[in-house]
C-alpha cells in the first residue's frame, strides 16, 4: 500500500507485522519496474505489510531515513529498521530479504 506523511507512523511504525518498505519516485525507471513486482508480492503475502512511499511527495520521511538513491528497500519491524538496500531487486532477491526477518 502507498503511505504518506499523514499515515506513515500509524501504518508503518505501529504495524503488527514486519514491513517491507520501499521508497520510490516517478522519475526513477527501476522504481516502476519494482512497483509491478511489489503488487504481485502484496497480493500473496500474509506475514508482511508491503508499504511504498513516494520520496518526492513525502520528503520529510525520506529525510528521516536518510534515503540516498532509489528504489530504497527497508525491512522495518516494530518501528526499527533491520535491513536496507538500494537498487532494483529481482523477485527472488526480495523474497530472500523478506525471509531473513520472518
Amino acid at each position: 500500500m502507498e503511505v504518506s506523511v499523514r499515515d506513515f507512523d500509524s501504518t508503518v511504525l505501529n504495524s503488527e507485522k514486519p514491513v517491507l518498505l520501499e521508497f520510490w519516485a516517478s522519475w526513477c525507471p527501476p522504481c516502476h519496474a519494482i512497483k509491478k513486482m511489489l503488487k504481485i508480492i502484496e497480493a500473496q503475502e500474509k506475514e508482511y505489510l508491503i508499504a511504498t512511499v513516494n520520496a518526492d511527495r513525502n520528503m520529510a520521511i525520506a529525510q528521516r531515513y536518510n534515503v540516498k538513491g532509489l528504489p530504497c528497500f527497508m525491512v522495518v519491524k516494530q518501528g526499527e529498521v533491520l535491513h536496507r538496500e538500494v537498487g532494483a531487486k529481482s523477485l527472488k532477491q526480495i523474497r530472500e530479504i523478506m525471509d531473513q526477518y520472518r
Binding site: A25, A33, K36, R57, M59, A60, G87, S90
Partner: protein, 520 residues
C-alpha cells in the same frame, strides 16, 4: 474505465508548486535541502485555480475536468500539439482527437510530400492540400484545427507556437520515417539524423520551457531493438525487475534499465538517439513521456479520414516510404509479383492504422507521472514477410479477381534473414485497455477496394518504377535481382514461430511456480 483511479499526479493541468525538489537518482534529500516541510508535495490546478494549493489526490472520475470517453477518461478540451500533422499518421490522429473534443494544433513543413516527390513518387491515394483539409474537416466533422506551416527545427517559431497554445500533450510524429531514405547517401543519412535527433532535442528544451507538465508521446520504432539472435525477449524498452544478469555466480536485477538497442539503419539509429535524449530529459527536468516502439503500420482507414475524399490520409507505396503491406497490395494491383526481400523469414510486428490511432488516443488519455519515461511496444501481431505476401495474394485473388505471384528478390538491406523473435507488448493491453480491433485481412481487403478504383489504379501505374527496391545498404543503387518467382499457396510457412506476450503470465502471479530464469 482503465484510468479512473489516476489522480492529479498524472494530470497535465497539475502544476507542481509546493514542497517540490527535483533530484536525480543517487542524490540524497539531505544533501540538497536543509529544511524539509513536514507536509507532502502540493500542486495548483491550472484549470481550477480556485482550489488553491492541495495534495494531488483527486481522481479522474471525481474531477469535473475529466470526462468519460470510449478510450478512458480524457481531459476536457485537452490541448494537443501534433508535430508532423500532415503525415500518414499525423492527419488521422488530428481528426480523431478533434472529433473527441480535443483542441488540436499542429505543424508540418511538408517534408514528407517533398521527399516522396524526390523519389519520383506520390501518395497513391490523392490527398488534399492542408488548406482544403482544414476546411473540409470543419465542414464534415465540425472541428477547428490550428495549423501552422513550420519546420520544427526552427526553434524560434516553435517556441512561439508552444507559448501560444500551451499544449497538455505533444505528439511527436515530426520525423523522417524511412530506413532506405537514410541509406541513400551521406546527404540523406545526415538529413535524417539532423532532422530527427536534433529536432527532437530542440523540442525537449521547448517543452521544458513552455509546458513541462505536458506528456510527450514520441514515436519510436520496434526497429530500435533489432532482432537478437539469442531469442531473448524484446521487453517494452526497460527491463522488468525480475530480468536478471548473472555473472560469476552472482545475480543482479536489470529492472528499469534501458534494454539493448540494435538499430538496423541510420534512420533507426536516429530513433535510438531520441530514446536516450527523451530518457535523459525526463530524468533531468521531470518531463514525462511515452516512447512508442511502433510496429509497421498498414492500411488506409479510420472513421474520420474515410468520411470524404478530401480527408483521406496519404498512402505511399514507393521503396522509401511505402511500408511492406501497403507495397504488397499495390504490387498485387499492378500485376507485379510481390517483392519479398531475401528469404522472407524476417519477422516484424504490425498494426493497422486505425488501431494505431486508438493506441495513441488511449496513451494521451492516461499521461505518465511527473518525470516518468515509459516505453510501450505498440503492435497487434507478428508475421513473417513471406506469410504476409501469402495473405495479400490470397485476398487479392479471391476477393478482387487478381492474378498474384510472389517473387523473392535480393535483399538490399543488412538484416538477419532468419531470426527468433519473442516480443512483449503488455502495457497497452493491461494498463490502457487496448484490444486490437482491425484484423489484418479486413484492412487489406479495404485497401484493395480503394486501390482498385480506376483513378487510383491509374495513379499507381504512373509510379510503377518507384515500388522496386533500389537502395542498398552497401551504397549501391540498382534494382534488386529476382531470385525466384512462385505461386501463392505453393510454399509451406513452417519452421520457427514467433511469440507475442500480451499478458502477465501465471508464473508471475504464482510464486510457488516461479524459478529464476523462467522469464520468457
Amino acid at each position: 474505465m482503465h484510468n479512473k483511479d489516476k489522480t492529479c499526479w498524472n494530470c497535465p493541468a497539475a502544476l507542481l508548486k509546493g514542497n517540490v525538489e527535483f533530484r536525480a537518482c543517487g542524490q540524497s534529500v539531505s544533501d540538497i535541502r536543509s529544511k524539509i516541510s513536514e507536509e507532502g508535495l502540493l500542486i495548483e490546478c491550472a484549470r481550477r485555480p480556485e482550489l488553491g494549493m492541495f495534495e494531488p489526490s483527486i481522481t479522474y472520475d471525481q474531477c469535473p475536468e475529466w470526462r468519460e470517453t470510449e478510450y478512458g477518461y480524457l481531459l476536457k478540451d485537452m490541448r494537443i500539439m501534433i508535430l508532423g500533422i500532415d503525415g500518414y499518421l499525423g492527419w488521422p490522429l488530428a481528426l480523431k482527437l478533434a472529433k473527441l473534443g480535443c483542441k488540436v494544433s499542429g505543424l508540418d513543413n511538408y517534408l514528407r510530400r517533398k521527399a516522396v516527390a524526390e523519389k519520383g513518387s506520390k501518395s497513391v491515394v490523392p490527398i488534399a492540400d492542408m488548406e482544403t483539409r482544414l476546411k473540409t474537416a470543419k465542414e464534415v466533422h465540425g472541428v477547428d484545427i490550428n495549423f501552422k506551416e513550420m519546420d520544427l527545427l526552427n526553434r524560434d517559431e516553435l517556441s512561439k507556437f508552444l507559448e501560444e497554445t500551451k499544449p497538455e500533450a505533444v505528439i511527436h510524429y515530426g520525423e523522417i520515417p524511412s530506413a532506405p531514405y537514410s541509406m541513400v547517401d551521406a546527404e540523406h543519412a545526415i538529413k535524417t539524423q539532423h532532422n530527427n535527433t536534433l529536432g527532437t532535442l530542440g523540442v525537449l528544451f521547448l517543452i521544458k520551457e513552455h509546458c513541462p507538465e505536458a506528456s510527450l508521446i514520441k514515436l519510436g520504432t520496434m526497429g530500435e531493438y533489432g532482432t537478437p539472435l539469442t531469442g531473448r525477449p524484446i521487453f517494452e524498452g526497460l527491463f522488468p525487475a525480475d530480468a536478471v544478469i548473472s555473472w560469476q555466480g552472482q545475480e543482479w536485477s536489470m529492472g528499469g534499465e534501458l534494454t539493448p538497442r540494435d538499430p538496423a539503419s541510420f534512420y533507426h539509429v536516429s530513433k535510438v538517439q531520441d530514446t536516450f535524449n527523451v530518457y535523459e530529459a525526463c530524468k533531468y527536468w521531470w518531463l514525462r513521456s511515452y516512447d512508442i516502439m511502433q510496429g509497421v503500420i498498414f492500411g488506409v482507414h479510420t472513421a474520420e479520414v474515410s468520411a470524404v475524399e478530401d480527408l483521406r490520409t496519404r498512402l505511399d507505396v514507393d521503396e522509401w516510404f511505402g511500408t511492406v503491406i501497403n507495397r504488397f497490395v499495390s504490387q498485387a494491383v499492378l500485376g507485379i509479383p510481390l517483392t519479398v526481400y531475401g528469404s522472407g523469414e524476417q519477422i516484424r510486428g504490425y498494426l493497422a492504422l486505425e488501431d494505431a490511432m486508438e493506441c495513441m488516443t488511449r496513451l494521451i488519455a492516461s499521461p505518465p507521472e511527473p518525470g516518468q519515461y515509459d516505453v510501450v511496444n505498440q503492435l497487434s501481431q507478428l508475421y513473417k514477410v513471406k506469410e504476409l505476401a501469402e495473405i495479400v495474394a490470397k485476398i487479392g485473388s479471391q476477393n478482387h479477381g487478381l492474378t498474384v505471384q510472389i517473387q523473392r528478390v535480393e535483399n538490399p538491406r543488412v538484416e538477419a534473414d532468419e531470426h527468433p523473435f519473442l516480443v512483449v507488448s503488455k502495457k497497452l493491453r493491461e494498463d490502457h485497455g487496448y484490444d486490437p480491433k482491425t484484423p489484418l485481412e479486413v484492412e487489406i481487403d479495404r485497401m484493395f477496394s480503394l486501390l482498385m478504383k480506376p483513378e487510383i489504379r491509374e495513379r499507381l501505374e504512373s509510379i510503377r518504377e518507384a515500388v522496386f527496391p533500389q537502395t542498398w545498404w552497401n551504397g549501391n543503387h540498382k534494382t534488386s535481382m529476382t531470385l525466384e518467382v512462385y505461386e501463392p499457396g505453393t510454399i509451406e510457412i513452417e519452421g520457427y514461430k514467433p511469440t507475442l506476450v500480451t499478458k502477465t503470465e501465471a508464473y508471475e502471479t504464482e510464486p510457488q511456480d516461479y524459478q529464476a530464469g523462467d522469464e520468457t
